[in-house]
């Protein structure tokens, strides 16, 4: 598989897998008033500020033969290390903070009084969330998904440690660029860079449009 396809596959899986927990965490942080909120907030932000290699190394130790999630401890093999699934895990962890933060802002911009109004009209908590909160936050949530996708697309440090850089299997765009550069394939590296720039531009541009303030969706 080409690096582009591997990257897209990994980024798509990351988006699908981290969106539900990311949105839930974002909602919790936006609406919940509970003890330990700051702690969760900080923990959810950590991957954003830690060196990606540190996160990758932690994952490696967790999943490694003698880690708590290794085969001997679990009794079965998760088979994540040095597979594309490992790349999904690594870049997923790295992308989660971005999704949580963006989702949180999206929910914070929904006027809680509108939710209260929906409740007085007979809509329960769940219906209110589905019929009022989600539609009003949808642009921010879509932006969160795209940002998560883009972050996964560009992940390098954690991925290389957890998934390695196996051509055709785990070598994503970011890894392939580094590889081509190392072995002096400058033209190939440049071509891959061009592809990533195009993808990233499209993604960020879409987010900009989505998050642009529209007066009718205050």
């Amino acid at each position: 598989m080409s690096p582009l396809l591997i990257s897209l596959k990994v980024a798509c899986w990351v988006t699908v897998l981290i969106l539900p927990p990311g949105v839930l965490l974002g909602l919790l942080l936006a609406r919940g008033g509970f003890r330990g909120k700051s702690l969760i907030e900080t923990a959810a932000t950590l991957p954003l500020v830690l060196p990606p290699t540190a996160v990758g190394y932690l994952l490696l130790r967790l999943l490694g033969r003698y880690g708590p999630l290794g085969e001997p401890s679990l009794g079965f093999d998760l088979d994540l290390l040095f597979t594309w699934k490992g790349a999904v895990l690594a870049s997923g962890v790295m992308a989660l903070p971005l999704v949580v933060r963006t989702a949180r802002v999206a929910f914070e911009e929904v006027d809680p009084r509108l939710e209260g109004m929906a409740r007085t009209l007979g809509l329960g908590r769940v219906r209110t969330f589905v019929e009022v909160t989600l539609p009003l936050a949808r642009r921010g949530l879509l932006a969160a998904a795209i940002l998560g996708f883009s972050r996964a697309l560009g992940e390098f440090g954690a991925t290389v440690i957890v998934a390695g850089s196996i051509p055709g299997r785990t070598q994503t765009l970011a890894l392939a660029i580094f590889n081509d550069m190392q072995i002096g394939h400058d033209d190939e590296a440049m071509a891959l860079v061009a592809v990533t720039v195009a993808l990233a531009f499209a993604a960020v541009f879409t987010v900009e449009i989505l998050l642009r303030k529209r007066p009718d969706l205050a």
Binding site: L114, G116, L121, G122, L123
Partner: protein, 376 residues
């Protein structure tokens, strides 16, 4: 009729603890008071949107709050049609979808069915049904919010300043809608307002709230002329509110009969004979004459007897910010009219005319300074 509404709550607010106890069987209740008196907090507590209220709220035999027994019904199980001051329409839905937001509850509530089509018609929203709510004017938004509340099968309507922050012409346009709703759909309603005129027109019972406590309670036309309450009611200009029926109408004027034998001439505003109307006369616009005046262009001269003279209060007085200090309020009983009329004059005029309780006077008023509101 037994009381269908019981509100007995204590709610700590920033500056004071709101504490009201109120039981009623009347269909239209007003809560009147200056801003910051806790009016909106009462509505939010009844709607279930504000936590922290202790006490009891019972509506139509159902207990919505009983903190002693640990009962707190969530807002979705209460059945209120809440119209907040800022309408709070759902920005992601068009007018019709907003109005139908609570229709699922309406179908299941067993409340008397209110047809959304009829609501659109009464509120004159039919042409707006597919408009996006962001493009609506202030008055249109209020009507949509009213319609949404009505179509949710409410056991109780809560209207927070339904006319607040609208300019006068718009107020005069929305008020008839409120009267129409009351007539047409007959849902028990609590109106919150800081304008005495609105409360008098819309309610048969009013609770005056001052810093979280009941300052007075009773029929609006009696409560607002009470010595203690009048200074609050006159902020922004006190209006005498009279009800009557149009008995004659021409191109330029209409004649309204208030009581057999007591008639007012008002400037024609499209009234037709037989219409029930409300006539508002500002206390500042009424002129007093001790002798029967002649040769006047003013169309209305009503003979009456001075019941009371209120001299301006010194010091604080609590008189409205409209420069009301120094004005004498003369309370006049006219004919068999159920309500006394209030006229304000300067202290100097009061001295010159030697006005005194028991004295005969004539109230003079131009047809043009009477405002007429159709109630049907």
């Amino acid at each position: 009729m037994t009381a269908w509404l019981l509100v007995d709550i204590n709610l700590p607010l920033d500056r004071f603890t709101l504490s009201v106890k109120w039981e009623t069987s009347g269909p239209a209740l007003g809560i009147f008071g200056p801003s910051g008196a806790g009016k909106t907090s009462i509505l939010e507590s009844i709607a279930g949107l504000r936590r922290g209220a202790r006490g009891t709220i019972r509506v139509g035999g159902e207990t919505w709050l009983d903190s002693a027994r640990g009962i707190v019904r969530p807002p979705e199980a209460r059945g209120v049609g809440y119209v907040p001051q800022d309408a709070l329409l759902f920005p992601h839905r068009d007018v019709l979808a907003n109005i139908l937001s609570g229709s699922r509850r309406a179908r299941r509530s067993g409340a008397p069915r209110i047809d959304p089509e009829r609501v659109l018609e009464v509120l004159e929203l039919r042409d707006l049904r597919h408009r996006h709510v962001s493009g609506l004017s202030g008055g249109e938004s209020r009507r949509v919010a009213l319609g949404r509340a009505l179509c949710s099968g409410p056991a109780l309507l809560l209207l927070d300043e339904p006319l607040g922050s609208l300019d006068l012409p718009l107020k005069r346009r929305i008020l008839p809608y409120l009267l129409r709703i009351r007539k047409e759909f007959a849902v028990p309603t609590i109106y919150v307002s800081h304008e005495a005129t609105e409360v008098t027109v819309l309610c048969r019972e009013v609770l005056v709230l001052e810093a979280g406590r009941e300052a007075a309670r009773g029929r609006p036309e009696e409560v607002f002329i009470d010595k203690a309450i009048f200074p609050m009611a006159r902020a922004g200009g006190f209006e005498n509110i009279l009800t009557g029926r149009v008995v004659e109408a021409s191109r330029s004027v209409a004649t309204v009969e208030l009581e057999p034998g007591t008639r007012l001439t008002v400037a024609a505003q499209g009234q037709s004979v037989g219409q029930d109307v409300i006539v508002a006369a500002r206390a500042e616009d009424l002129i007093l004459a001790v002798h029967p005046p002649t040769g006047l262009s003013a169309q209305n001269i009503l003979a009456g007897e001075i019941r009371e003279i209120r001299q301006p209060e010194g010091g604080d007085g609590g008189i409205g910010e409209d420069g009301g200090a120094g004005q004498v309020v003369v309370v006049v009983r006219v004919g068999r009219l159920g309500v006394p009329l209030l006229a304000t004059v300067t202290a100097q005029a009061c001295r010159q005319l030697a006005l005194a309780p028991g004295g005969r006077v004539h109230l003079v008023c131009k047809a043009n300074s009477l405002h007429v509101l159709a109630t049907r």
